[in-house]
Symmetry: C2
Protein backbone atom coordinates (compact mmCIF):
# COMPACT_ATOMS: atom_id res chain seq x y z
CA UNK A 1 0.00 0.00 0.00
CA UNK A 2 1.27 3.41 -0.88
CA UNK A 3 0.32 6.50 1.04
CA UNK A 4 -2.51 7.86 -1.04
CA UNK A 5 -5.34 10.32 -1.11
CA UNK A 6 -8.53 9.08 0.50
CA UNK A 7 -11.36 7.91 -1.71
CA UNK A 8 -14.86 9.27 -1.22
CA UNK A 9 -15.58 6.27 0.93
CA UNK A 10 -12.57 6.42 3.22
CA UNK A 11 -12.46 10.16 3.67
CA UNK A 12 -13.42 10.91 7.26
CA UNK A 13 -16.35 13.23 6.80
CA UNK A 14 -17.01 14.23 10.37
CA UNK A 15 -14.17 15.77 12.35
CA UNK A 16 -11.71 15.60 9.47
CA UNK A 17 -8.88 16.55 11.82
CA UNK A 18 -9.26 13.10 13.33
CA UNK A 19 -8.62 11.33 10.03
CA UNK A 20 -5.30 9.85 9.02
CA UNK A 21 -4.41 8.06 5.83
CA UNK A 22 -0.71 7.38 6.06
CA UNK A 23 0.59 3.85 5.92
CA UNK A 24 2.56 4.15 9.15
CA UNK A 25 -0.44 5.20 11.24
CA UNK A 26 -2.71 2.58 9.70
CA UNK A 27 -0.21 -0.27 10.09
CA UNK A 28 0.60 0.72 13.69
CA UNK A 29 -3.08 0.52 14.65
CA UNK A 30 -3.53 -2.79 12.84
CA UNK A 31 -0.43 -4.28 14.45
CA UNK A 32 -1.66 -3.46 17.95
CA UNK A 33 -4.78 -5.62 17.73
CA UNK A 34 -5.87 -9.21 17.30
CA UNK A 35 -9.63 -9.05 16.76
CA UNK A 36 -11.36 -7.13 13.99
CA UNK A 37 -15.01 -6.70 13.02
CA UNK A 38 -15.75 -7.83 9.49
CA UNK A 39 -18.79 -6.54 7.64
CA UNK A 40 -20.42 -8.31 4.73
CA UNK A 41 -23.81 -7.93 3.07
CA UNK A 42 -26.30 -10.79 3.06
CA UNK A 43 -29.66 -10.42 1.34
CA UNK A 44 -29.20 -6.66 1.39
CA UNK A 45 -28.57 -6.50 5.13
CA UNK A 46 -25.29 -5.84 6.92
CA UNK A 47 -23.71 -8.59 9.01
CA UNK A 48 -20.85 -7.74 11.38
CA UNK A 49 -18.80 -10.61 12.80
CA UNK A 50 -15.81 -10.42 15.17
CA UNK A 51 -12.83 -12.52 14.16
CA UNK A 52 -9.11 -12.78 14.69
CA UNK A 53 -6.84 -11.17 12.13
CA UNK A 54 -3.22 -10.49 11.39
CA UNK A 55 -1.57 -8.02 9.08
CA UNK A 56 0.81 -9.83 6.76
CA UNK A 57 2.62 -7.35 4.57
CA UNK A 58 0.03 -5.32 2.71
CA UNK A 59 -2.81 -7.73 3.49
CA UNK A 60 -5.19 -8.44 6.31
CA UNK A 61 -5.33 -12.20 6.77
CA UNK A 62 -8.35 -13.91 8.32
CA UNK A 63 -8.94 -17.59 8.92
CA UNK A 64 -11.71 -19.83 10.09
CA UNK A 65 -13.45 -23.08 9.48
CA UNK A 66 -13.72 -24.13 5.85
CA UNK A 67 -17.44 -24.52 6.56
CA UNK A 68 -17.80 -20.99 7.93
CA UNK A 69 -20.29 -18.84 6.07
CA UNK A 70 -18.17 -15.73 6.64
CA UNK A 71 -15.04 -17.31 5.21
CA UNK A 72 -16.95 -18.66 2.22
CA UNK A 73 -18.44 -15.26 1.44
CA UNK A 74 -15.12 -13.47 1.89
CA UNK A 75 -13.19 -16.05 -0.11
CA UNK A 76 -15.70 -15.60 -2.92
CA UNK A 77 -14.65 -11.97 -3.29
CA UNK A 78 -17.73 -10.25 -1.91
CA UNK A 79 -17.27 -6.63 -0.84
CA UNK A 80 -16.08 -6.51 2.74
CA UNK A 81 -15.26 -3.95 5.40
CA UNK A 82 -12.70 -4.76 8.07
CA UNK A 83 -12.63 -2.48 11.10
CA UNK A 84 -10.11 -2.54 13.95
CA UNK A 85 -10.72 -0.42 17.05
CA UNK A 86 -8.71 0.20 20.19
CA UNK A 87 -10.44 2.02 23.05
CA UNK A 88 -7.86 4.12 24.90
CA UNK A 89 -9.86 6.09 27.43
CA UNK A 90 -13.04 7.74 28.60
CA UNK A 91 -12.96 11.51 28.25
CA UNK A 92 -14.83 13.12 31.13
CA UNK A 93 -15.75 16.72 30.35
CA UNK A 94 -17.39 19.43 32.44
CA UNK A 95 -20.47 19.34 30.23
CA UNK A 96 -22.43 16.27 29.18
CA UNK A 97 -22.04 17.27 25.55
CA UNK A 98 -18.25 17.18 25.47
CA UNK A 99 -17.82 13.71 26.94
CA UNK A 100 -15.99 11.50 24.49
CA UNK A 101 -13.89 8.40 24.02
CA UNK A 102 -10.25 8.26 23.09
CA UNK A 103 -9.70 5.60 20.46
CA UNK A 104 -7.72 4.50 17.43
CA UNK A 105 -9.49 2.79 14.57
CA UNK A 106 -8.86 1.66 11.03
CA UNK A 107 -11.52 0.97 8.42
CA UNK A 108 -10.55 -1.08 5.36
CA UNK A 109 -12.75 -1.61 2.31
CA UNK A 110 -11.89 -4.42 -0.05
CA UNK A 111 -12.63 -7.81 -1.48
CA UNK A 112 -11.17 -11.00 -0.11
CA UNK A 113 -9.34 -13.72 -1.93
CA UNK A 114 -9.16 -17.29 -0.67
CA UNK A 115 -5.68 -18.67 -0.12
CA UNK A 116 -6.03 -22.29 -1.12
CA UNK A 117 -2.57 -23.48 -2.07
CA UNK A 118 -1.23 -25.57 0.82
CA UNK A 119 2.15 -23.91 1.12
CA UNK A 120 0.73 -20.36 0.97
CA UNK A 121 -1.95 -21.30 3.47
CA UNK A 122 0.64 -22.70 5.83
CA UNK A 123 2.73 -19.54 5.51
CA UNK A 124 -0.27 -17.37 6.32
CA UNK A 125 -1.10 -19.40 9.40
CA UNK A 126 2.55 -19.26 10.44
CA UNK A 127 2.52 -15.49 10.20
CA UNK A 128 -0.75 -15.41 12.10
CA UNK A 129 0.62 -17.33 15.03
CA UNK A 130 3.88 -15.40 15.12
CA UNK A 131 1.82 -12.24 15.52
CA UNK A 132 -0.04 -13.75 18.47
CA UNK A 133 3.09 -15.07 20.14
CA UNK A 134 6.52 -14.91 18.49
CA UNK A 135 8.22 -18.29 18.40
CA UNK A 136 5.01 -20.18 19.05
CA UNK A 137 4.81 -21.84 15.65
CA UNK A 138 8.03 -23.78 16.17
CA UNK A 139 6.99 -24.89 19.64
CA UNK A 140 3.64 -26.45 18.80
CA UNK A 141 2.53 -29.25 16.52
CA UNK A 142 2.04 -27.79 13.03
CA UNK A 143 -1.22 -28.35 11.13
CA UNK A 144 -1.58 -31.75 9.48
CA UNK A 145 -3.16 -32.05 6.02
CA UNK A 146 -6.66 -32.64 7.44
CA UNK A 147 -6.40 -29.55 9.66
CA UNK A 148 -5.13 -27.45 6.78
CA UNK A 149 -8.07 -28.63 4.70
CA UNK A 150 -10.49 -27.75 7.49
CA UNK A 151 -9.07 -24.23 7.71
CA UNK A 152 -10.04 -21.48 5.30
CA UNK A 153 -7.64 -18.56 4.89
CA UNK A 154 -8.55 -15.30 3.21
CA UNK A 155 -6.44 -12.27 2.40
CA UNK A 156 -7.89 -8.80 1.96
CA UNK A 157 -5.56 -6.21 0.47
CA UNK A 158 -5.10 -3.05 2.55
CA UNK A 159 -5.71 -0.63 -0.29
CA UNK A 160 -8.70 1.53 0.50
CA UNK A 161 -8.16 2.31 4.17
CA UNK A 162 -8.33 5.13 6.65
CA UNK A 163 -7.53 5.66 10.30
CA UNK A 164 -9.46 7.76 12.75
CA UNK A 165 -8.35 8.60 16.25
CA UNK A 166 -8.96 10.84 19.21
CA UNK A 167 -6.38 11.59 21.86
CA UNK A 168 -6.06 14.01 24.75
CA UNK A 169 -8.30 15.57 27.34
CA UNK A 170 -11.77 17.07 27.23
CA UNK A 171 -12.44 20.04 24.96
CA UNK A 172 -14.78 22.00 27.18
CA UNK A 173 -16.35 25.33 26.40
CA UNK A 174 -14.43 28.23 27.99
CA UNK A 175 -17.41 29.20 30.14
CA UNK A 176 -17.54 25.71 31.67
CA UNK A 177 -13.94 25.72 32.85
CA UNK A 178 -14.79 27.04 36.29
CA UNK A 179 -17.46 24.42 37.03
CA UNK A 180 -16.67 22.41 40.13
CA UNK A 181 -16.59 18.98 38.53
CA UNK A 182 -13.78 16.50 37.99
CA UNK A 183 -12.69 16.49 34.37
CA UNK A 184 -10.03 14.49 32.63
CA UNK A 185 -9.36 11.12 31.09
CA UNK A 186 -9.81 7.63 32.50
CA UNK A 187 -7.35 5.58 30.44
CA UNK A 188 -8.29 2.03 29.56
CA UNK A 189 -5.98 -0.64 28.25
CA UNK A 190 -6.39 -4.22 27.08
CA UNK A 191 -4.07 -5.87 29.58
CA UNK A 192 -2.70 -9.41 29.59
CA UNK A 193 -3.04 -11.06 32.98
CA UNK A 194 -1.07 -13.93 34.51
CA UNK A 195 -1.23 -16.99 32.23
CA UNK A 196 -3.25 -19.99 33.45
CA UNK A 197 -1.55 -23.27 32.63
CA UNK A 198 -3.75 -26.03 31.28
CA UNK A 199 -3.40 -29.31 33.15
CA UNK A 200 -4.64 -32.37 31.27
CA UNK A 201 -7.09 -34.45 33.26
CA UNK A 202 -5.00 -37.58 32.98
CA UNK A 203 -1.55 -36.08 33.00
CA UNK B 1 -37.27 -8.76 24.33
CA UNK B 2 -38.50 -12.18 25.22
CA UNK B 3 -36.34 -15.26 25.14
CA UNK B 4 -37.09 -16.68 21.75
CA UNK B 5 -35.97 -19.16 19.19
CA UNK B 6 -33.22 -17.92 16.91
CA UNK B 7 -34.11 -16.81 13.40
CA UNK B 8 -32.23 -18.19 10.43
CA UNK B 9 -30.05 -15.14 10.62
CA UNK B 10 -29.16 -15.23 14.30
CA UNK B 11 -28.73 -18.98 14.65
CA UNK B 12 -25.07 -19.65 15.24
CA UNK B 13 -24.27 -21.99 12.40
CA UNK B 14 -20.73 -22.97 13.26
CA UNK B 15 -20.08 -24.47 16.69
CA UNK B 16 -23.72 -24.27 17.78
CA UNK B 17 -22.73 -25.15 21.35
CA UNK B 18 -21.22 -21.68 21.54
CA UNK B 19 -24.51 -19.96 20.72
CA UNK B 20 -26.82 -18.45 23.34
CA UNK B 21 -30.08 -16.70 22.82
CA UNK B 22 -31.40 -15.98 26.27
CA UNK B 23 -32.09 -12.45 27.36
CA UNK B 24 -29.94 -12.66 30.47
CA UNK B 25 -26.80 -13.71 28.60
CA UNK B 26 -27.31 -11.15 25.86
CA UNK B 27 -27.99 -8.26 28.24
CA UNK B 28 -25.03 -9.19 30.46
CA UNK B 29 -22.67 -9.01 27.49
CA UNK B 30 -24.16 -5.73 26.28
CA UNK B 31 -23.97 -4.19 29.75
CA UNK B 32 -20.26 -4.95 30.05
CA UNK B 33 -19.22 -2.83 27.09
CA UNK B 34 -19.20 0.73 25.83
CA UNK B 35 -18.17 0.54 22.19
CA UNK B 36 -19.98 -1.45 19.51
CA UNK B 37 -19.39 -1.93 15.80
CA UNK B 38 -22.31 -0.86 13.65
CA UNK B 39 -22.75 -2.24 10.16
CA UNK B 40 -24.78 -0.54 7.45
CA UNK B 41 -24.90 -0.97 3.69
CA UNK B 42 -23.93 1.86 1.36
CA UNK B 43 -24.15 1.40 -2.41
CA UNK B 44 -24.24 -2.33 -1.90
CA UNK B 45 -21.09 -2.43 0.19
CA UNK B 46 -20.76 -3.02 3.93
CA UNK B 47 -19.53 -0.21 6.18
CA UNK B 48 -18.50 -0.99 9.76
CA UNK B 49 -18.09 1.91 12.17
CA UNK B 50 -17.13 1.81 15.87
CA UNK B 51 -19.28 3.94 18.14
CA UNK B 52 -20.32 4.24 21.76
CA UNK B 53 -23.57 2.60 22.83
CA UNK B 54 -25.71 1.93 25.85
CA UNK B 55 -28.46 -0.56 26.45
CA UNK B 56 -31.57 1.25 27.65
CA UNK B 57 -34.27 -1.27 28.47
CA UNK B 58 -34.89 -3.34 25.37
CA UNK B 59 -33.06 -0.95 23.05
CA UNK B 60 -29.53 -0.23 22.02
CA UNK B 61 -29.09 3.55 22.01
CA UNK B 62 -26.48 5.26 19.85
CA UNK B 63 -25.73 8.93 19.50
CA UNK B 64 -23.57 11.16 17.40
CA UNK B 65 -23.46 14.39 15.51
CA UNK B 66 -26.68 15.36 13.76
CA UNK B 67 -24.52 15.73 10.67
CA UNK B 68 -23.09 12.23 10.94
CA UNK B 69 -23.74 10.03 7.96
CA UNK B 70 -24.03 6.95 10.16
CA UNK B 71 -26.65 8.53 12.41
CA UNK B 72 -28.62 9.80 9.43
CA UNK B 73 -28.67 6.37 7.80
CA UNK B 74 -29.59 4.63 11.06
CA UNK B 75 -32.23 7.19 11.97
CA UNK B 76 -33.77 6.66 8.55
CA UNK B 77 -34.49 3.05 9.41
CA UNK B 78 -31.96 1.31 7.18
CA UNK B 79 -31.12 -2.28 8.11
CA UNK B 80 -28.33 -2.32 10.64
CA UNK B 81 -26.20 -4.81 12.50
CA UNK B 82 -24.80 -3.93 15.94
CA UNK B 83 -22.04 -6.17 17.27
CA UNK B 84 -20.47 -6.03 20.73
CA UNK B 85 -17.37 -8.10 21.47
CA UNK B 86 -15.31 -8.64 24.59
CA UNK B 87 -11.98 -10.42 24.21
CA UNK B 88 -11.30 -12.46 27.35
CA UNK B 89 -8.16 -14.41 26.58
CA UNK B 90 -5.79 -16.07 24.18
CA UNK B 91 -6.09 -19.85 24.18
CA UNK B 92 -2.71 -21.45 23.67
CA UNK B 93 -3.00 -25.06 22.57
CA UNK B 94 -0.39 -27.75 22.00
CA UNK B 95 -1.14 -27.73 18.27
CA UNK B 96 -1.36 -24.70 15.99
CA UNK B 97 -4.82 -25.76 14.88
CA UNK B 98 -6.44 -25.63 18.31
CA UNK B 99 -5.30 -22.13 19.25
CA UNK B 100 -8.29 -19.94 19.87
CA UNK B 101 -9.61 -16.83 21.56
CA UNK B 102 -11.95 -16.66 24.52
CA UNK B 103 -14.59 -14.03 23.91
CA UNK B 104 -18.18 -12.99 24.44
CA UNK B 105 -20.09 -11.34 21.63
CA UNK B 106 -23.60 -10.27 20.75
CA UNK B 107 -24.91 -9.64 17.24
CA UNK B 108 -28.13 -7.64 16.85
CA UNK B 109 -30.02 -7.19 13.60
CA UNK B 110 -32.56 -4.41 13.38
CA UNK B 111 -33.60 -1.06 12.08
CA UNK B 112 -32.99 2.16 13.91
CA UNK B 113 -35.45 4.88 14.79
CA UNK B 114 -34.40 8.47 15.40
CA UNK B 115 -35.32 9.89 18.79
CA UNK B 116 -36.14 13.50 18.01
CA UNK B 117 -38.42 14.71 20.78
CA UNK B 118 -36.36 16.85 23.14
CA UNK B 119 -37.43 15.21 26.39
CA UNK B 120 -36.94 11.66 25.07
CA UNK B 121 -33.60 12.62 23.62
CA UNK B 122 -32.49 14.09 26.93
CA UNK B 123 -33.58 10.95 28.75
CA UNK B 124 -31.62 8.77 26.36
CA UNK B 125 -28.48 10.85 26.82
CA UNK B 126 -29.01 10.76 30.58
CA UNK B 127 -29.18 6.97 30.52
CA UNK B 128 -26.13 6.90 28.30
CA UNK B 129 -24.01 8.90 30.73
CA UNK B 130 -25.23 6.99 33.77
CA UNK B 131 -23.99 3.82 32.09
CA UNK B 132 -20.56 5.37 31.55
CA UNK B 133 -20.30 6.74 35.08
CA UNK B 134 -23.21 6.59 37.56
CA UNK B 135 -24.02 9.99 39.03
CA UNK B 136 -22.15 11.84 36.32
CA UNK B 137 -25.19 13.44 34.72
CA UNK B 138 -26.06 15.43 37.85
CA UNK B 139 -22.48 16.58 38.28
CA UNK B 140 -21.92 18.11 34.85
CA UNK B 141 -23.58 20.85 32.86
CA UNK B 142 -26.55 19.34 31.03
CA UNK B 143 -26.96 19.81 27.29
CA UNK B 144 -28.36 23.17 26.21
CA UNK B 145 -30.88 23.39 23.36
CA UNK B 146 -28.19 23.98 20.74
CA UNK B 147 -26.22 20.95 21.91
CA UNK B 148 -29.33 18.79 21.93
CA UNK B 149 -30.06 19.90 18.41
CA UNK B 150 -26.52 19.06 17.34
CA UNK B 151 -26.86 15.56 18.77
CA UNK B 152 -28.64 12.75 16.95
CA UNK B 153 -29.94 9.85 19.02
CA UNK B 154 -31.07 6.56 17.56
CA UNK B 155 -32.62 3.54 19.23
CA UNK B 156 -32.39 0.05 17.78
CA UNK B 157 -34.68 -2.55 19.34
CA UNK B 158 -32.93 -5.66 20.66
CA UNK B 159 -35.24 -8.14 19.00
CA UNK B 160 -33.28 -10.31 16.63
CA UNK B 161 -30.14 -11.01 18.62
CA UNK B 162 -27.76 -13.79 19.52
CA UNK B 163 -24.77 -14.25 21.75
CA UNK B 164 -21.72 -16.34 21.02
CA UNK B 165 -18.97 -17.09 23.46
CA UNK B 166 -16.00 -19.28 24.16
CA UNK B 167 -14.59 -19.96 27.61
CA UNK B 168 -12.07 -22.34 29.11
CA UNK B 169 -8.77 -23.86 28.15
CA UNK B 170 -7.44 -25.40 24.96
CA UNK B 171 -9.20 -28.43 23.49
CA UNK B 172 -6.21 -30.38 22.28
CA UNK B 173 -6.27 -33.72 20.59
CA UNK B 174 -5.56 -36.57 23.05
CA UNK B 175 -2.39 -37.56 21.19
CA UNK B 176 -0.96 -34.05 21.64
CA UNK B 177 -1.34 -33.99 25.42
CA UNK B 178 2.16 -35.29 26.06
CA UNK B 179 3.89 -32.68 23.87
CA UNK B 180 6.39 -30.61 25.80
CA UNK B 181 4.86 -27.19 25.18
CA UNK B 182 3.18 -24.68 27.49
CA UNK B 183 -0.57 -24.71 27.00
CA UNK B 184 -3.27 -22.73 28.71
CA UNK B 185 -4.98 -19.36 28.62
CA UNK B 186 -3.53 -15.86 28.72
CA UNK B 187 -6.44 -13.82 30.10
CA UNK B 188 -6.90 -10.29 28.81
CA UNK B 189 -9.06 -7.62 30.35
CA UNK B 190 -10.01 -4.05 29.43
CA UNK B 191 -8.70 -2.36 32.54
CA UNK B 192 -9.27 1.20 33.72
CA UNK B 193 -6.06 2.92 34.77
CA UNK B 194 -5.50 5.83 37.14
CA UNK B 195 -7.56 8.84 36.01
CA UNK B 196 -5.65 11.83 34.63
CA UNK B 197 -7.12 15.13 35.79
CA UNK B 198 -7.50 17.85 33.18
CA UNK B 199 -5.99 21.16 34.18
CA UNK B 200 -7.22 24.18 32.21
CA UNK B 201 -4.43 26.25 30.74
CA UNK B 202 -5.55 29.40 32.50
CA UNK B 203 -6.89 27.90 35.73
Amino acid sequence: METRSPTDRTRVRRLPDRGAYDRETIFAILDTGFVCHVGIVESGSPVVIPTAYARVGDDIVLHGSSKSRLMTVLGGGAPACVTVTHVDGFVMARSAFHHSINYRSVVIFGRGEAITEERAKNEALHAFMERLHPGRWDAVRPPNPQELKATAVVRIPIEEASAKLRTGGPLDDPEDMTLDVWAGVVPVVLAREAPIRHVPEHA
